[in-house]
């Protein structure tokens, strides 16, 4: 499937781009991370510590085991610091 993958804050900096469109067969967010981390050193470095990563699937917060069936947009970012 085709997915838009978005990155924010230091994930965006480590990967070197704010978004990319990819083809993947990942079934869950965790599978997608494994797929992305295997692409190059920048992705691998960004996803080195999963405890520091949060995600959203189609703009809803999701956990790493969330399924990706039907998803169009997945975002990765560090813990949020609003307010």
């Amino acid at each position: 499937m085709t997915l838009d993958v978005l990155y924010f804050a230091w994930l965006r900096e480590r990967i070197g781009q704010p978004r990319e469109r990819i083809e993947t067969s990942a079934a869950t967010v965790r599978d997608l991370i494994a797929d992305l981390a295997a692409r190059d050193d920048w992705h691998a470095a960004a996803f080195a510590d999963l405890a520091a990563i949060r995600c959203a699937v189609d703009q809803q917060l999701a956990d790493l085991d969330a399924p990706l069936a039907g998803a169009r947009e997945v975002a990765f970012f560090p813990p949020m610091t609003g307010g």
Binding site: F8, A9, P79, M80, T81, G82, G83
Partner: protein, 160 residues
């Protein structure tokens, strides 16, 4: 009942004009850029356009349901902000003060840890540093998940 994300400053008085008409209690909170080190030049706030607006609206609606609010407003800025500038505000309106105070507190706890904003401190020396999330903010949020439903009957009877 509205949530907005913007780079421009907001005017608290203008935001409150006509807000919560008929309510017995209106509470507002304003967050301001703070410099804990004495070496900060500015704060930069990044957000997730699209998701941010949706998340703020969701949290506002949830607060309105839980605390019986008659009105609520969230305004959150992004981009580069100088020390001393307002970052964001929440306003809550209810029949009684407990619900309005609690709802504002609840909204702030959600915004701190579950709204897609990321702060970066820009130092006077030109260095930039992403602000780490605090465990205390996560703890503050968990107390709402643990606590029973609000309002309690005692608070509902409160004449103020």
């Amino acid at each position: 009942m509205s949530a907005r994300v913007q780079t421009a400053p907001f005017d608290l008085a203008a935001e409150l004009a006509g807000f919560g008409a008929g309510a017995g209690a209106i509470v507002t909170f304003t967050g301001v850029v703070r410099d804990d080190t004495g070496r900060m030049a500015a704060l930069e706030i990044e957000h997730y356009p699209g998701m941010t607006e949706r998340a703020l609206s969701d949290y506002g609606t949830r607060a309105a349901d839980r605390f019986g609010l008659s009105d609520w407003r969230i305004v959150h800025r992004h981009g580069r902000l100088a020390v001393g500038e307002p970052i964001m505000m929440v306003a809550t309106a209810a029949r009684h003060r407990h619900a309005a105070f609690q709802a504002a507190d609840y909204l702030m706890d959600w915004l701190k840890s579950r709204a897609p904003f990321w702060k970066r401190e820009l130092g006077q020396d030109g260095a930039a540093r992403w602000v780490d999330a605090k465990a205390s903010d996560e703890d503050a949020l968990s107390r709402w998940q643990a606590s029973s439903e609000y309002p309690s009957s005692a608070a509902t009877d409160d004449p103020a």
